[in-house]
């Protein structure tokens, strides 16, 4: 009876082919001594001829890495085994032919007549695949059966080939000895009657060839150890794999064509739309618009709730605890500072939600592919889009993500421009300023002006990154090669468990990690604002009373004047006053100046700082939110501090200014020098200053 071994990679439909060939004529047992299943079936080829088919465990190659795979090699190496095949059938999958052919080329070298079955042919049309069978048969030195185990097409063709198995070549399709001609020559001379490739497998595989004729194999092993070290053998194995894949690539170029424009499956249709050279970008920007719109619209309710809750908490503490400096610290330092951070959790959570959904669905890698065309013109790689988008969360991991950019120049440029993208720490700054100075109106009845402004700022940061990259690409004289390789995963429904975990972790990190710094800085700020040097601070009450002795003002207004005078002459007031001449042309007063300085520790500190300073600077006991306090803030001449001009100036300053101290530290680490972070710091600060200056002077 003809003995047939059915071999192939896992998931090629090998068992389906086995079932079609054998029907119910099957026996299932175990290989002796182990728990791996042994399946044997019988196939009627003609009225008088049957074949015994053994379904071997799925294996990726003859370089065995598991018990299952060892069984395949053991059988194919041992001619004395009762199941040793007269003919081998290697089952492959039409969509993964390249990977499946590795095993095929190895089986061919064992000098066993081998048939190649290309399964899942029903998917060819949908995937735009076409195969030239005669060309592949010639290149691979075999006979090919094109089969669909789903529709049963081609199964009879396998039976026809099996009947004629003696005409199937048992010659190899490539010569492995080329990987080290001298070594294999010596091996041939030492063992002239043995198959070279079998000897090679014995030498390199950690398999128990218990049933194989031991003597020549032991001699081969000891021969090899005398001539090659273990690491040299490993290198030769790697070279063998490379040579095989080169042969496979060359072969498939001749007889296997994939035409994406003809593909009809859902993934291909979606890819054609989402990576279209015009609509791809339109869709991407449409999605971005939707995201930023949702961030503003959906977050307003929880944000208002959090804002008023913290204001109420402060009021409760003031009324409950005994009056004194520590109660003041609790209300105006800690609660005010923390409230300025917690309020932005809804917006940050929504932002991370959308980014996670895009990643989980597989769309993000299409964005990378789309953007490569644009990025390349600006000296960036398509892979730069990942740090640039990650930078919307935080610049630190974004800068670290540049490690997978192969070209040093592209990587350096990406590191230098990533801080331009709006990180989540800037979001509180943008959100509060937009809410203060941009009217809450609908444009064209659909778009919210505040949402559009936020989107504009994100796009502005991105545009600044791209333009800077273009300039740096021209200016930096660094030679490097560049290439772009990406594998696009299948589309899938986002696993909401993964999305939820991601949103929770990122929001928690923002709250907990940033929260500790905010808390500490709020305490220090409150102290610096509540204490001061010299007589002017210590005698503030008497000095102010003397100034207003001839004026008729209420006791509340007097208290406010005293609080304001004390703030101006506190430690922090002195710092703010010192830098005020520099920032006055930008439309900022000394209080905003203090917030600019402290926000270099962490950008979100800006809002907490202002919350602390305005709370400390007001003697009023009515419940007010941070936004109300900022809106009510006026100069000594009565003019509002936060106008459209100063608001836009601040927004633009933060859009272009270097991000926090931690960003500076990570750039130093990734570029291994202080040169680049210093260039970044001074360059970005200069751009921010100039832009803020021009915008304030234009809008005031």
């Amino acid at each position: 009876m003809l003995k047939v071994a059915l071999i192939g990679n896992p998931n090629t439909g090998k068992t389906s082919v086995f079932n079609h060939l054998t029907g119910l004529n099957q026996q299932v047992g175990n290989y002796p001594g182990i728990t791996v299943e042994k399946k044997i079936g019988y196939c009627k080829l003609t009225r008088h001829h049957k074949a015994k088919i053994i379904d071997l465990p799925g294996t990726y190659s003859l370089n065995a890495s598991s018990l299952d795979e060892s069984i395949v090699i053991e059988l194919l190496m041992n001619k004395n085994d009762e199941d040793f095949p007269d003919v081998a059938i290697v089952v492959s999958d039409v969509e993964n032919l390249k990977r499946n052919l590795l095993l095929f080329t190895q089986i061919k070298e064992l000098e066993i007549p081998t048939i190649l079955v290309i399964n899942m042919s029903d998917r060819m049309k949908r995937k735009g695949i076409s195969i030239d069978i005669p060309v592949l048969e010639k290149e691979l030195n075999t006979k090919i059966a094109l089969v669909s185990s789903r529709t049963k097409d081609g199964i009879e063709g396998i039976k026809t080939l099996l009947q004629d198995y003696k005409n199937i070549s048992s010659d190899a399709c490539l010569d492995t000895s080329k990987i080290d001609v001298e070594y294999f020559d010596r091996l041939k001379k030492a063992f002239p009657n043995q198959s070279l490739y079998k000897l090679w497998l014995v030498i390199t595989q950690d398999v128990n060839f218990g049933k194989v004729d031991k003597k020549p194999m032991e001699d081969a092993t000891s021969f090899s150890f005398a001539t090659k070290t273990n690491s040299e053998l490993k290198k030769l194995q790697q070279k063998e794999t490379i040579v095989r894949y080169k042969f496979i690539n060359d072969t498939l170029k001749k007889g296997y064509l994939v035409d994406k424009s003809k593909a009809r499956d859902l993934r291909s249709i979606l890819d054609r739309i989402l990576t279209h050279k015009v609509f791809g970008y339109v869709i991407f920007f449409g999605i971005l618009l939707l995201i930023f719109q949702a961030i503003f619209d959906w977050s307003s309710v929880p944000m208002d709730f959090i804002d008023s809750s913290f204001a109420s908490l402060g009021d409760w503490v003031r009324n409950t605890f005994p009056a004194g400096v520590f109660t003041d610290l609790l209300v105006n330092g800690i609660i005010a500072g923390l409230g300025g951070i917690v309020i932005f959790i809804p917006q940050i959570a929504f932002l991370f939600l959308f980014i996670s959904v895009l990643e989980e669905s597989g769309y993000m890698s299409r964005v990378v592919f789309l953007m490569d065309r644009i990025m390349r013109r600006f000296g960036l790689s398509g892979k730069s889009i990942v740090p640039l988008i990650s930078g919307t969360a935080c610049a630190i991991p974004a800068i670290m993500a540049t490690r997978n950019i192969e070209s040093w120049k592209e990587r350096l440029i990406t590191i230098l421009v990533t801080p331009f993208t709006t990180c989540s720490a800037r979001l509180p700054v943008y959100a509060i300023l937009i809410a203060l100075v941009i009217p809450d109106q609908r444009i064209l009845g659909v778009f919210n002006a505040q949402g559009l402004t936020l989107m504009f700022l994100y796009l502005l940061g991105f545009a600044a990154a791209i333009i800077s990259a273009y300039i740096l690409n021209k200016v930096l004289k660094i030679k490097s090669k560049s290439y772009f390789v990406i594998e696009m995963p299948n589309y899938k429904l986002p696993m909401f468990k993964n999305v939820f975990i991601n949103v929770f972790e990122k929001t928690k990190a923002f709250l907990v990690d940033a929260g500790k710094i905010i808390l500490a800085i709020s305490i220090v700020l409150w102290f610096l604002a509540s204490y001061g040097p010299g007589e002017k601070f210590n005698n503030a009450e008497n000095i102010v009373k003397t100034e207003v002795v001839n004026q008729e003002i209420s006791s509340l207004e007097l208290d406010d004047k005293i609080a304001s005078y004390k703030l101006e002459h506190s430690y922090i007031g002195i710092v703010g006053k010192t830098i005020e001449p520099i920032i006055r042309p930008l439309g900022y007063d000394w209080k905003i100046g203090i917030a600019l300085v402290t926000s270099f520790a962490a950008r979100e500190v800006f809002v907490g700082t202002l919350a602390t300073i305005y709370s400390v600077g007001s003697a009023g006991e009515e419940e007010e939110t941070i936004k109300q306090k900022m809106a009510a803030e006026v100069y000594p001449n009565g003019k509002k501090v936060f106008t459209l001009a100063s608001g836009i100036s601040l927004l633009l300053f933060y859009a272009f200014a270097m991000q926090c101290m931690a960003t500076l530290a990570i750039v130093k680490k990734e570029t291994n020098s202080w040169k680049w972070p210093m260039i970044q710091l001074f360059g970005m600060t200069a751009i921010a200053y100039i832009t803020a200056l021009i915008s304030f002077q234009l809008f005031k």
Binding site: F326, V524, M661
Partner: protein, 43 residues
């Protein structure tokens, strides 16, 4: 005479300053190159 609330304030301020100095000026030696638990100083 310093009262209880003032003592509490000074303790809170000293703890805050100590935390910030440790965070920004004192970096323990890392045994791995990954961010581990401190987000690479992001916050």
């Amino acid at each position: 005479m310093i009262n209880t609330q003032e003592i509490l304030v000074y303790i809170a301020v000293l703890l805050a300053v100590f935390f910030l100095v440790k965070k920004y000026f004192y970096k323990p030696k890392k045994t791995t190159k990954s961010c581990g638990n401190d987000s690479c100083g992001c916050h």
